[in-house]
Amino acid sequence: MLPFSSFEFLIIMAFFIAILVGAKYVLKDVYYRYILAVLNLTFLVFVYPQPYHFLLLILLSYLFTFMVANVFKFENRLWGILILLTPMLLVKFDILLYSFPFKLNDLISFSGLSYASFRIIGYYMDKAPNEKMADPITYFNFLAFTPTLLIGPIEKYSRFKNSQDIGFSSITTDNFIAGWNSLLKGIIFKYIVAEVIDRYWLNLFPETSKELLHMANNMYAYYFYLFFDFAGYSFMALGIGKMMGMNVPVNFTNPFLAVNPQDFWRRFHISLGEWLKEYFFTPLYMFLTRKKGLKQYPIMRQNIALILTFLLMGCWNGFKSNYILSGVLFGIFSAVHNTYVILCKKKGKDVLFGNLNSLTVKTISIIIMFNLAAFALYIFSGRCPF
């Protein structure tokens, strides 16, 4: 059974919460991680469909991180990243083994690999060259924490560890109520709103229809469906995490109200946006800044970094044209907006809206961004007939 695949998962989580709440009264905070590890391991071994795959990934990633960071001490972290990303890259390339009549994916692919890979890279990037390796128990919990195992949010190791260190203390009535609130919100989003959209709106017109109105309907329906489905998962994970004493980061805050692409990624799949900014955009921008030929073109540097960042995001979903194109579109939106912001700063005025009042500008911006995001996600969905 995969996390959140049916209500039985919630029953298991209820048991986990009950065990942690019970343990809080007999154990000190320092033991929280052990109890959490036992629970995570129990889920992986007895409930998760491919336990060996996941356990092997955790073990190998720990060993390889130790090798590349503490033994070989690669100056260029790109090599370390490539080594740690190898399992995910092999899966994303969808390689067919001609000598063996299965695809490689049939052997090494498993649910949750992408999110685990992002967390592994995050840990490796954050780790200082001579810093001691993470404590294995915490590292295991970091990658195998049941509520976020499958669909994130993408945690940072340091944040996770801090939260885990005060795990028992965080199991309070207030946190429990806040968690329950998030869980209910997630259930309503995922199992009611997304379900209704899926049944009654998303399939109103055939995907293959090239009529403009049908396509517009499919585009908006998918945007709403994706949000409520994905945000539903994230709120449930957040809620259960909170009830278990862990502070899972918020992943969605009203993306429909975003006024520009940057704002959108601060509201939609926030943890992915942050991850990309911190571990890809910033290092890439720094790298481009050091390039002599690009020194005199700061806007171009930023825009190249932006487009490549979103291209990576597209590729992360899979090496398929719809994902890649959707990533490029988000990159272009961001680059155009970035250019616009810099031009406004240079000229000392809004080059597009002039002296229009701020409420009108905000409303127009929301409408534009809403439609741009809906369009890019429509391409992402693969439901566009062209």
Partner: protein, 399 residues
């Protein structure tokens, strides 16, 4: 505390009260849970592509008609080739005994096994013809029936029947293990699938049993509640479980003439290639390109495992089963002979279990009979006439 009570627990109590009212008050039940009446099916139907279209097909499955016996022909994509020679047309048109086809692409051994297991009370002496495609045992098909195809042919009613039938425990365990292997791919699994999966997981060890016990208990409770709710609205079958004897009829069929004409017809349709493939199919899909088969070793071949379990079920339940093995076009598949060892195993197993079969497999392009297929792996009219003859002889339809 008051806030918690009002905001969270009051709605919860209301929801639970409503659920219990719905569950136990029969008047509310009947108004809310009345099953939608299925549209009537054409009584002269010959082919059931799947069981999703109309629930009434489930009642027809493996049942004999009032006045005659019906032979059920189960298989995959070959059943979609609807010609005058396809058994569900040819036999039905010429004899009182009918043939009904069940299946389309993907209805492989495990799917068939499960359909038959669900209808276990109807199995004894049931005349069943199964079309085996060697393609089932290569590439990804060797992983066995996919979850989506399985669900198309195995409705919750069928799975409920398996779940509730205590006389098939050994087969039930196999069914549960196989469902468990693709359970993760099923979106919103039905309660019966969940129970089969959880029971399979629970049987792995004492710890599994301990962990899954509360989940199984809750699902069992829900299952019995649902069964009670649906009992009054269930569609009851009027079809007989009793088998009719197949009567020999005085029908004279000139097989030689049918073979000659249909073979020539297929050759006339394949003039733009030497591989006896239909012109249109060749132009649209082949154009001189060849492919190869990728047989999967027996130890990794789930399809073979499923097939052997299917034979075990047919044998134990004394089914009047027969088989035909289709060929693959050796002109198109460069290394078709690589599948011959697997076909040989299939043949040996059929022999060992005394099931009559017709083996049309021939991977040697020098002796392969042109015209038997219309494309790369589906029987032409000529091929189907051979199957028709096999049915007539096996089930003794003529005097």
């Amino acid at each position: 505390m008051k806030r918690i009570l009002l905001i969270y627990f009051l709605p919860l109590i209301c929801a639970l009260t409503l659920t219990f009212l719905l569950a136990f008050k029969s008047t509310i039940n009947s108004s809310l849970f009345t099953a939608e009446s299925p549209s009537p099916i054409d009584p002269s139907f010959r082919n059931i592509p799947n069981f999703n279209d109309n629930v009434l097909y489930e009642n027809e499955f493996l049942s004999s008609r009032a006045d005659h016996e019906t032979i059920f022909m189960l298989g995959s994509s070959e059943l979609g080739v609807n010609t005058e020679a396809t058994p569900y047309n040819f036999i039905t048109d010429h004899f009182n005994t009918k043939v009904v086809g069940v299946g389309h692409a993907g209805n492989q051994s495990f799917s068939i096994f499960s359909q038959l297991l669900a209808n276990e009370p109807r199995l004894k002496n049931a005349p069943i013809l199964i079309g085996i495609s060697p393609g089932w045992f290569h590439e990804v098909s060797a992983n066995g029936t996919t979850s989506s195809q399985f669900l198309e042919f195995n409705s919750s009613r069928f799975l409920n029947s398996i779940l509730m039938n205590d006389s098939i425990d050994t087969f039930k365990a196999y069914e549960a293990n196989r469902i468990s292997s693709f359970y993760g791919e099923i979106v919103s699994p039905d309660l019966s699938i969940k129970l089969l999966h959880f029971k399979s997981r629970s049987s792995k060890s004492f710890l599994h049993q301990f962990l899954y016990a509360p989940i199984i208990a809750i699902d069992d409770l829900l299952y019995s509640l649902r069964s009670d709710l649906l009992k009054t609205n269930s569609i009851t079958t009027t079809n007989s479980f009793e088998r009719k004897s197949i009567r020999e009829e005085s029908v004279v069929i000139n097989w030689d003439s049918l073979f000659t004409v249909s073979k020539q017809d297929q050759l006339n349709r394949s003039t733009n290639n030497n591989w006896s493939i239909d012109n249109t199919y060749y132009t649209n899909n082949i154009n001189g390109k060849r492919s190869f088969v990728s047989p999967v070793q027996i130890k990794y071949n789930t399809e073979m495992e499923d097939f052997l379990e299917l034979l075990k079920l047919l044998k134990e339940k004394k089914v009047n089963a027969s088989f035909f093995i289709s060929p693959l076009n050796p002109y198109y598949f460069k290394n078709a002979s690589d599948l011959s060892p697997i076909v040989a195993i299939v043949e040996t197993e059929l022999k060992k279990n005394n099931f009559p079969y017709l083996n049309l497999w021939n991977s040697d392009s020098t002796t392969f009979e042109k015209g038997i297929l219309f494309d790369i792996g589906h029987l032409s009219k000529y091929g189907f006439y051979k199957v028709d003859k096999f049915i007539v002889e096996t089930y003794k339809l003529t005097k």
